[in-house]
Point group: C2
Chain length 376, copies 2
């Protein structure tokens, strides 16, 4: 039987994060992806699905997530094809998630040449400021993945020496492809760099050739498998074996193989090791929505830099985020004389911390787990 060569584009949204950093709004069964953190009423996941669905068609969009999140995602996004929600047997970081997705697609399309399946991998973790610019990047990146047989990523021009992101170093001599006004410029990638220290971050920003690693990837299934075979032969082998087992519906084998996979990031497992990586420059405002201090809320702003949602009473405060998710009728929230504070209120929980400690919500969640509290 001759494998079908019709080009198929699929979108993959990685949505496995536990989102503890958005407690008390996020919970074990309500991760941050399902919260409307960047839009008045659309969840992060919903906003991630839209542009990808426009590019490849909704039926070709897949969500890869944890088992316990399939039902909540289905409930939150009922229009989304339930059978396209892929669930990992356990958590094995992004390398695991993308290996599983590759295996699943090989099983789903047994007759199709892996050279005729191109993936756009994104996440539901970011705020995109310009939908059109983002779609232009997606289109460019998919074209590059198909035409150049490369692993493609999207790099964001850094606007500050951020130490919380990885960086992609591009070879800037001349763009691989660039059609002004129609595509974003594309460069060869020299190296991936993990999260830098402050001094390194300063140098990166000054260099003009280092970009924030956006965590978006584009590749043909065949290219992914080929590069993975060179970089991580065991992982490539696992993909093939899982694909065979998935074709047979042999869940036990899939689980056993998947559990044995090393839980590492795809950047570390594959991207860093490959010499065949292109970077499309992101020409749109982009922000990582990683913790409460990064929520550029859809709420109200005042002249003192306070951002509020849910009508809290904020008196003499500056640079505070006050998020009353329960609404003023259920919970009256009053904040007086605070600076740089984050106050989050739901109908069964309250969080208070300085902006600088936004990453440390996890300490609260850990303690609540330890106490077996119901609010996790």
């Amino acid at each position: 039987m001759t494998p079908k060569m019709t080009a198929l584009r699929v979108g993959v949204i990685m949505a496995g994060g536990s989102g503890e950093r958005f407690w008390p709004l996020s919970r074990q069964h309500l991760p941050k992806q399902l919260l409307a953190l960047t839009h008045p009423d659309k969840s992060m996941l919903s906003l991630a699905i839209e542009p990808i669905a426009e590019l490849v068609g909704l039926n070709n969009v897949y969500i890869i997530t944890g088992k316990h999140l399939a039902a909540p995602i289905h409930e939150a996004e009922p229009y989304f094809p339930y059978e396209n929600i892929l669930t990992e047997p356990c958590k094995r970081n992004t390398a695991g998630a993308l290996a599983y997705t590759a295996a699943w697609l090989m099983a789903r399309y047994p007759d199709r040449n892996p050279d005729a399946i191109t993936l756009a991998v994104t996440t539901a973790d970011h705020r995109i400021g310009d939908a059109e610019g983002f779609k232009l990047m997606l289109e460019t990146a998919m074209n590059m993945a198909e035409q150049r047989n490369a692993l493609v990523t999207c790099g964001i021009p850094p606007t500050r020496p951020e130490t919380g992101f990885g960086y992609v170093e591009a070879i800037m001599d001349e763009p691989v492809a660039f059609e002004s006004g129609k595509t974003s410029p594309v460069y060869q990638v020299r190296a991936f760099h993990e999260k830098p220290d402050a001094e390194q971050a300063d140098r990166f920003v000054a260099s003009g050739r280092h970009y924030w690693n956006s965590g978006m990837f584009f590749w043909k299934l065949s290219v992914f498998l080929g590069e993975l075979r060179r970089a991580r032969p065991a992982l490539a082998e696992a993909v093939v074996t899982m694909a065979e087992a998935l074709k047979r519906d042999d869940t036990a084998i899939v689980e056993r193989i998947f559990e044995a996979i090393e839980g590492i990031s795809i950047d570390y497992a594959l991207m860093e090791k490959s010499n065949n990586v292109l970077m499309v420059r992101g020409e749109f405002p982009w922000a990582d929505v990683g913790a409460w201090n990064a929520v550029d809320s859809s709420g109200t702003s005042d002249s003192s830099g306070n951002r509020t949602i849910g009508d809290p009473v904020v008196v003499d405060c500056a640079n505070c985020i006050v998020y009353n998710a329960a609404g003023a009728n259920k919970m009256a929230v009053g904040v007086v004389g605070m600076e740089d504070a984050i106050v989050v209120v739901t109908d069964d929980a309250v969080l208070v911390m300085p902006q600088s400690r936004a990453q440390d919500v996890r300490a609260v969640v850990e303690e609540l787990k330890h106490r077996n509290a119901k609010q996790i």
Copy 2:
């Protein structure tokens, strides 16, 4: 008919405060007096009733409060004789409350000579650190009021240059009465001073003869009326007229007269103007429980100076008060990395402020009133 001369002692607890500074725990129908702010399960009012009831008998204790608080007080303190809850027609400060109380007692005991009725007037606003020392003061003050025909007050030796209290200046040359170990020393009062500025407060504390005005008063009804006649003849006249109207149950007249009374403090109306005032020195730990930062909670303390109630999760905090009145099961409260903050949570409201702004809760309550919120 000859007036009865048997000595009668009555206790009067002024409990008319609105307690907005303890929002969100206090509400319009649940003032601070009904909250357990200084004891695990006894309200401020309950703690105020106990020693006075021991001195004069429960049936001779009266609570003077606002109309809307009679039912809540009855519900909170069911053992307390309901008919002893006196309700003012409207708010007219402490001078109004004590004028009304005097009139009410005259009407209640029409056959009794006002020289044979002695009042101990206290509030439910304070934390008393030594019940026995407090009772000794009460006994001494009542004796002085009866034996010396004076207005008697209780002065607290200042432990800091507090600008939030009034001061009583004593003539220290020699005590009017003092029986070591049995009574507290008693002095003639030279003057009452309103809340001082910082410099004045420093001088007051250094002088050794200035005491905090505790807001407690002791007097025979006859002495009160006589001194009031000299200081505020119109107010004394109002007391007599109200007493006559109360005897006839003529509520309309009582209300009309009461509404016309000037809303001023008894300190300003009477004590400052009188030359016949004695002060018993308070020999017990005393604290004004005026706002959240003054709550020496009945909860848990840790080595970083945090005081907690209701099992909040407190991580890397110092000198914070975290009061989860709803309990951890209803509301999970997490506070991370805060210093000097006050966080109060009920099942329908949240308050966050620095300790230094504890007085400013009212701004929140005002705004909530303006919004017609249900949580006031």
